[in-house]
Symmetry: D2
């Protein structure tokens, strides 16, 4: 009986994110963890697989999809190698330049490469829906809520959301109305002004993890898009989904949106 | 100096909805209320326009877009007349048969006709986003909350939402998991089972108007799509938007979604 | 058969708030609108009562409870008169000095007088619960959301809430921890700092009316207290409740809290 | 220099809850973990303390407050021993009979004993506030949301909340109005009917942990009390708080409410 499961390899398998990815792949009934690579963890047993020092182990194991959560200098070598071996790549590594992306685009001619900075399905959809809704409302604001150890405000997700909403808005619906506030009793009460003047509010709260709410309003109605991350495992469903669907998107794809069909 | 405003006519202008539409058109700076028609209210003054008894007034006034919130028997006459006169139609009237729709499709060859049962932009987007998100989550439930005079449960919007989510799900992601509940201490606590087993919960609350929340969950994360209607005026932004954009969609269009580009 | 309903009079009955109060009293089955007073609206018919020019009409009608939503100069005459006639007073008028309150306290020796600036039961309870909860959490922030015509930020309710939370906190639990933010990318993102550093965020949104959320967090948990006002009628349940219960609280009472037993 | 920290002992220190309590005590700057007892884990090192087999270790270490998360048969011996030695007890053990409680009441004459089934501060306050608010609103419903492995519905917390709200209501404000629903399209959509007819809705959602929302409505307004537990650590702040304040409540106290002053 042949195994219909997709053969998955993991590079950077010794790191925190790599180990979590390996666990998620191992758990999913449609995926088969066939190889794990990490020069810094060679020889370690990981879910029945021995971590190898070199990417050659991926070819030997017949990996079809390879997940890469490492660092840009390493991935600059790994990704073209994957392309040359006809393997698909699912990449969470960040820090690539435009030149890097161009090189990857040239390399992946027969297989697929997805590069995404955010694998949280709920966060990706929230941002996309906010962008789709932005042209049709009179007002919009963003509230992001995080644990009270976070030192920057607003969050990167909130900034990206505001940028995408404003870009969608600018092309279709013109300016947002001016802020009505004439008297700000506590300075900053109206939040931080992002692109196009979209107000962003950052809450820092003991007990919380990572949450964001986009509120859009028109006469007599509001639409609220809210995303809650309860722990770090929230990246895994997106990685697993990418392993299953990356092959359907030949060449280079940026962002999980395309795989979600939105 | 020419007037760049879109010339809008309203039929059924004497009814509650018709008057509200006329007010919204009159208020919007990009629209010009040029004619109002209602055989039952002929002669009444409405925002500087005298209500006429016959649709001929629409042609005389040079209406470009005509809004029809009447009843199916009347609209069956009005819509082909609008098509024959090259006017665009924005229609909130309900009760059309498939044959009616086929006839309208044949009639509107040069101008546009939008027929929608729901002009609440926030509700339309909530339903569409719920449909787009449904394939990508493990679980989903709907909570709808209405004023405590509502006699049916769930609301029509909640039922339509569940149907659309299930249709999107069935085509892409297979069955939802079985309900884990083994012991329901209060019968009905787990809500009503809609299509595909999607649970729908109906809250009836003094003070509320019309609200709905769709919650979708995956490992470590949830996405919540919430729509709040605060009063009946929530239909108006959708009607105004349709008046502005219907001309861009030649022929017959069903549902506001197409005009919203989602 | 005797009428067990409480006999209620309304002063300032010709004003917008006075008329709304009269309607609410007229509608409630346990209350009987027996007199309406307003020198500026004398002779007007109001729910079967003719508005009188002088408070003497209250005595003639045998009013037991009198509702006063007027202005401080008028109420300074009315309230002692009510006390002298053994009537209970429910007062929404604002602008009294400490001397005024002392005078009212001396006057109401046999009957009761409730003076409150906020008759929204949900808002009053939200503030009280926030005050009760404040000592027991590590962090707390306030988000208030209002329609986009509001020119001041934060709202008066939010400021009062923060003040009361801080006073409760100071007496029991010491300082709130310092804000963790080191890098505020959009100035003001972290909101306005109220008493004790409690952050207050003001959202201005088309479609909304008046809403407030107090979030309190401790390890692994949050408590959220949210109040929604959907329209101006939200004051009426508190006024009706006060008419029914003011007699149980002899002398002068400040704030609806006492009547709610919290 | 004397140590002003409260000396705390933990019994059942080898169990999952006991270890977590020991960690929380060890972490808090105002508490000093001086002894740990568990016959099944004697000799184990726990935060610098060696687990002892017998409660004698508590006396030897001079424990002032002892936390007991064990089982009723064991606690029936431990608690009177603590009372006899003048130690205060913080007890999360369940399954006591009325006779047990009477015995504990008689035993704790000089020191204090708090027994609570719920140490989540946010959940305890949510229930208490729901009880305080129940008499003043026209309608109320409960929505509880839990992870999708939970096999009973509604949750015990939701049932307790409904019971307490109904008890508070019955004594003050009479019956809730009848459910307006005449046509339930999906059976169970209106939720389960708890005491007094309070509707309870149970959502089961992948990604969620334990959450509950109580919504109360009156004319033009709603009050929402929401509690979110993000992980099991949510019990710890309540246990730590009890260690600090139990001494202020001599004799037997049932429930964390008393310590919270609500």
């Amino acid at each position: 009986m042949s195994d219909a499961r997709i053969k998955v390899g993991v590079v950077g398998a010794g790191g925190r994110m790599g180990r979590t990815v390996a666990a998620a792949v191992d758990t999913d009934p449609a995926l088969d963890l066939v190889a794990a690579v990490d020069p810094h963890a060679a020889g370690v047993e990981l879910f029945g697989t021995t971590v190898a020092a070199s990417v050659d182990a991926l070819a030997e194991a017949g990996a079809e999809v390879v997940v890469d959560f490492t660092v840009a200098p390493a991935a600059r070598d790994t990704l073209p190698w994957l392309a040359a071996h006809g393997m698909h790549a699912v990449v969470g590594t960040t820090g690539f330049s435009d030149d890097d992306l161009e090189a990857f685009r040239s390399a992946f001619t027969t297989s697929s490469c997805l590069i995404a900075s955010n694998f949280s399905i709920s966060a990706v959809l929230m941002m996309r829906f906010a962008e789709l809704a932005a042209p049709w409302f009179e007002t919009a604001e963003i509230i992001e809520l995080h644990h009270d150890q976070k030192i920057d405000a607003p969050s990167g997700t909130a900034i990206t959301t505001a940028q995408r909403m404003q870009a969608a808005r600018a092309g279709a619906a013109g300016e947002w109305p001016a802020d009505p506030t004439e008297h700000e009793v506590y300075a900053g009460a109206r939040g931080g002004a992002g692109p196009g003047g979209i107000r962003v509010h950052s809450v820092r709260m003991r007990g919380m993890v990572a949450h964001q709410e986009v509120i859009l309003g028109a006469l007599g109605q509001t639409l609220t898009l809210r995303q809650d991350s309860y722990d770090r495992s929230s990246y895994m469903p997106g990685v697993v989904l990418a392993c299953k669907h990356v092959a359907e998107h030949p060449g280079l794809t940026l962002g999980l949106d395309a795989l979600l069909g939105v």
